[in-house]
Each structure stands twice: as C-alpha cells, then as structure tokens.
C-alpha cells in the first residue's frame, strides 16, 4: 500500500496537477455553495475542460470539484437554510438553528473540519480496499461481467427516488440511446434512421451536459422566473470558534460518520445524502443530549458532514474496481475516465495502476486543499450565493454550449446537448430521474457485448451461459434487490404514502 501511495504522489508531483486539483476544489466549493447547483452539475459543466489534460490532473480536477462541492453544500445549508447540494440536507437540521443562535462561525468550522476528516478517512479506505476488490474481480469472465452490468443497471432502484418503474424506464431510455450507432460486435449501423451523424452514436459529453447541466439550467431558470422578487435571508457569519470541549464531544460522531459515509458510499447508488441521514440518526441515538438535535447541535453538523464527504472516497470503490458508479457524480466521472481512454474495472488496476494510485492521492490532496481554502474563505464563501441568477445562468449556458462543442468541434454535438437538455427537463417534470439514463448509456455497451459474446460461445443457450456460481450470486442479488424495492414501493402506494420523485 505504501508503494502505491508513493507512486500516486509521484504522479501528482507536478505544478499542473497540483494547480488543477486546487482550482477544482475551489470551483467545487463555489458550486456547492450555490443552491440548486450540485456536484454532479459542476462535474458535468467542467468535464470538457479536461479533454486536453493527462488523466491524473483531469480526474484530480474533477475529484476536487466533487469533494469541494460536497462541503460547499453545507455553507448555504447553515446560512440560508437551503442545502447547496442534496447531500447537505441533513446539515440544515442543526446548522441553520446554530446560525440563528449566532453561532454560524462555529457551525461552519465544524462542517469544514468534519468534511475534511471524513474525506481523508474515505480516501484511505479507497486506497486499502479498492486493490483487494479489483484483484478478486480479475477472475471474472463474460458471464460475470454481464451479471455485473445487469446489477449495475438494477441499482437504478437507488437512483430513482421512490418510483423504481420510472427509474427502470429511464434505464431503458439510456440503453436505447446507447444502441444508436455501430453495433458493438458486428459493426453494422443500428437505429440510425439513415442519418449519417448518428453512425458514430451519441457522444457521451453532449448527452451528459444536456441531461445534467442544461436540464438543470432550464429548471433553475423556470424557478427563478416563478420566484421573482423573493429573496433568501442570509444570516451573518457571527460567533466564536470551536472550543476543546466541543471538539471532544464531536470526535465520536465525526469518526462514526466517516466510517458510515465510506461504507454507504461504496454501496452502488446510495451516495452522500443517504450516508448523511444515516450518520445523523446514529449520532442522535448515541448522543448524551439527543434533545439538542434539530435545535442546533454541533454533533448533528459533525455527523452529517463527515458522512457526506466520507462517501466521496467510498463511491470510487465500485466505480474503479467493478465499473459500477457509486452515485450520480461517479457516473459522470466514469464518463470522464472513458473519455481519457481508461475503462473502469479490475483491468484498470493492472493496465493503469499508476494512474489509479494518482487518483487516490489527488483525492487526498483535494481534501487538504479544501481544509486550507475553507479555513481562509470561511467568512467569505457564502457571498457566492448572493450572485444574481441572471448573471450566473447565462455563464452556465455559455459553458454548456462551448463545452459540448469542444469535444469534437461539431455543431451536431451542440444540437444533441440542447435536445437532451430539453428531453431531460421534460422527463424530470414527469418524475423520470436522469442518473439511470446515464447509467444505461454507460453500462449498455458493456452488458450487451458480454451477453452476446457469452451467448455466441454457448451456441445461444442462455442457461449454459449463466451456469457459474459468482454470476448466479450476482444475478440472484439483483433479482432480490429489485423485488424488495418494488414490493416496498407498492406497499407504500397501497398505504397511500406520497412518493417524492423530485431529484
């Protein structure tokens, strides 16, 4: 492990790399602090900037946005009672009451330190566990890869916010979009409608920017117009810093939160939001003062922030080792890896071991930068949420246009970006989530190729093809998770519980 870390430091030991990680972290904090802009949107918007970079600085830059974005969400959660990112929702419960009591500075400090500790612990877990899982996954063949692909697609249950059927339908849309272009085995054109630009299929970048950034932009613009005249009340960054006694009291929730975050992050399709609420619940259960939770408890802020940043490293484990993204941000980052010519999965550790080590260390450095920047900007970062939307949204629009054009210097890609942005917005309004579409698009090719290769080898007999223990276990687990989620959803529906389909 030590040699891996040293090799990772070597990969990051140049000014370009360090500057890109620092810039990414700063951007991430700013994006996270802007209500409505999530780490996923941030990574999607700035993904095109990484085309011309080496893999490690590129992934370090995006990793910086991810880590910074998770922390940045807490700033607005504490000061304006609106989480900058969904993962910051649990921080609102205690962060804002603390700010109302005039202890905003203390809450912001705790959010920063808990985030950094959570992030660092999850990076160490990533360094330790990822190679072990990857070496086990090296023994996989077509059948196991197909089963993993199906399992990856079934995790939409976790990404589809309540209505699993719409999540699965989104997955089918993604898979169908992925089918357009050349067939992966025969190379024959498929579903192209005789239109030449479709021969190459839909490029990942414009689809990604359209679905995650442009659709979000339309949603934000519509909300802005609807809420003209309304202004969020921003509380002042007042009060004293943390005392030793408060540190001591919060040490346990931070540690537990970091471990919970890392573990939950490593479970595909869960991510920081789930981890933060689980950790918050555990901290309240174990606290000597549970009555303070919800009324301004520092332990609550510590637990939720350590967990949501703890998830950052955890989500990389299934993405790097198995090629299954841990959450929507890692789904986008998986796209970034593919664009860099690296295929996520166990072979990545064999063929590009140094790059993987570089990514670990880049995440570690991003957390250290986050500490430094957060400390310096603790009293200033909230000002970004005062930037008027009529200034911010045109800039995001400009970035989406130039970003989707830059990938291939093609206006067709810009058109695709707009088309997918509009499709994304309409589907979002219909309660269809975006992340499964991306998942379908990314995993479709792998799943289809392995299914067909495997079935060709067995003369078209599907049962012979899946007659392998690991494959069967993965498929059984997939069926179990699907049946469990569907039955739970149907039970809730029969009981008359409202399903929240908002992303």
């Amino acid at each position: 492990m030590l040699s891996n870390i040293l090799s990772g430091f070597q990969m990051n030991a140049n000014l370009d790399c360090i500057l890109m990680i620092a810039f990414g972290t700063l951007l991430g904090i700013v994006i996270g602090a802007l209500p409505g802009l999530t780490a996923t949107t941030g990574v999607s918007i700035f993904l095109p900037l990484t085309f011309y970079m080496e893999p490690v600085p590129a992934l370090g830059f995006l990793g910086g946005i991810y880590c910074g974005g998770m922390y940045g969400g807490s700033i607005t959660a504490i000061l304006i009672n609106t989480p900058g990112t969904p993962a910051g929702a649990a921080t609102v419960l205690d962060g804002h009451p603390l700010a109302q009591k005039g202890e905003a500075y203390k809450a912001l400090q705790m959010a920063l330190y808990a985030s950094v500790i959570g992030g660092l612990i999850s990076c160490l877990a990533l360094m330790f566990f990822a190679p072990i899982l990857a070496s086990a996954a090296l023994k996989f063949s077509y059948a196991e890869y197909f089963a993993l692909g199906v399992f990856g697609l079934s995790i939409v249950a976790g990404l589809s916010n309540g209505n699993i059927f719409k999540g699965l339908l989104a997955c089918c849309i993604g898979l169908l979009i992925g089918c357009v272009g050349m067939d992966p085995i025969s190379g024959f054109p498929r579903l192209t409608l005789g239109f030449t630009p479709f021969l190459g299929g839909f490029q990942l970048i414009p689809v990604l920017i359209g679905l995650f950034a442009m659709s979000e932009l339309i949603k934000q613009c519509a909300d802005k117009i609807k809420r003209t005249g309304e202004k969020d009340e921003v509380l002042a960054v007042s009060g004293k810093g943390l005392t030793k006694a408060e540190w001591k009291r919060c040490a346990s929730p931070i540690l537990k939160g970091s471990i919970i975050g890392t573990f939950i992050g490593a479970v595909p399709a869960t991510g920081g939001g789930t981890a933060a609420f689980l950790s918050y619940g555990e901290a309240r259960r174990a606290s000597k003062h549970p009555e303070e939770f919800g009324n301004g408890s520092l332990e609550g802020v510590a637990a939720s922030e350590s967990a949501n940043n703890g998830a950052t490293g955890g989500t990389f484990i299934p993405m790097l080792c198995l090629g299954i993204p841990g959450d929507s941000v890692t789904a986008v980052m998986m796209g970034a890896l593919i664009i860099q010519g690296l295929t996520p999965g166990p072979n990545l550790f064999v063929e590009h071991g140094d790059t993987v080590n570089g990514i670990y260390v880049a995440l570690l450095i991003a957390n250290i930068f986050m500490l430094a920047m957060g400390q310096i900007g603790l009293r200033w970062f909230y000002k970004v949420c005062l930037i008027p939307k009529e200034i911010l949204q045109p800039i995001i629009f400009g970035l989406c246009c130039v970003g989707s054009y830059a990938s291939n210097s093609s206006l067709f890609d810009v058109g695709c970006m707009f088309a997918f942005g509009i499709l994304g917005y309409i589907l979002l309004r219909c309660g269809v989530p975006m992340s499964p579409i991306l998942l379908g698009l990314i995993l479709g090719n792998i799943t289809e190729s392995n299914l067909r290769r495997g079935m060709l080898a067995t003369g078209g007999n599907f049962f012979k093809f899946i007659n392998r223990p690991i494959c069967l276990i993965i498929l059984a687990f997939t069926v179990f998770s699907l049946v469990f989620t569907i039955s739970r959803m149907l039970k809730d529906k029969i009981k008359g519980k409202e399903i929240n389909e908002e992303e």
């Binding site: 339908l169 089918c172 579903l191 949204q393 045109p394 707009f418 067909r452």
Partner: protein, 171 residues
Amino acid sequence: MDKFFKLRFEATKAHVDIGLGIFFTLFSIMMLTYGIRSQCSISFGSVGIVTDRLFPYIIMTVSLILSVIILVLGIFDNRKDQERKNAGSSIPMAECSIYVLLLAFVGIFFNCTMKTIGYPLCNVIAMYAIYYMLGGKKLWQGLAVSVGFTLISYLFFAKYLGVSLALGFGL
C-alpha cells in the same frame, strides 16, 4: 413580457403518469413490431437469436412492461385524486415552464448561426437572450457578462486548447 416568461403548463401527476405510460407503451410496441426490424440488420456470424437485434428487443420488451405498469399505476393514482378532490384535499401537480420552448429557440439559433456569424457574436446574442429572459434589465450588465464570458472562453478554448471556434463572416 415578464408575464409571458412565467407561463407554465400544469397537469396532475396522475395525468402526467398516464401520458408517460401511453407514450412509451405505443413507442415500445412500434419499436417491437416495426422499428427494430427496419433499423437493425442481421449481420454475418449471427447464431440463432444472438443477432444485432437481440439487445434492442430485450430493452423494448422491458420498456413495454414498465410503461404498462406506469400507466396502470397512473390510472390508480387518478382514481385516488378524484377521492382527494371530493374530500377537498390538494392534488399533486406537475408543471412544465414555457422556458423550455424559449431555450429550444435559443438552441436552434445557436446551432444555425454559429458557423455563419461566428462563435463570438452568436454566443453574445444567445447569452444576452438568456440574461434578458431571466429578468435582467440592465443593458450594460448583460453585455458585460456575455461579452466578458465569450472573450474568456474564446481565448481559453480557441487560443489555448486549439478548439476550432469559427469567427464567422469568412474569417
């Protein structure tokens, strides 16, 4: 003009689900019966059912099942909405802003004009349009944002990264 930008289409969530279900049911049936056959050829080396059409058929079959379930659940929700309406409680609604159409127009404008009038001018106009649609009233502020961003992005992408961003007018 602000009133126009605030326009939105509203429907109950149950109606939206029914619409979504009907659309994807019809689409899946169309693909299964005609679309896949006409758009995917069977290449050399295919064995039995393992052809170029296999995966699209699987996807569309699953899609058909899912869209029928969404449709049925939508009808179920619609009945519950009627009961809610009779009881005087609120019904979950979904809305779609007119903004989506306006942005589509900006997108079409950007796509159609970028090569002829060039990236700088086209981007400034498109960004200013977004600024105006969002309620920005100060001409100088809108121009400063759009011109400033366009200049920086042109220098970064075209000059630094070497992306071929057209200047337009034959330049």
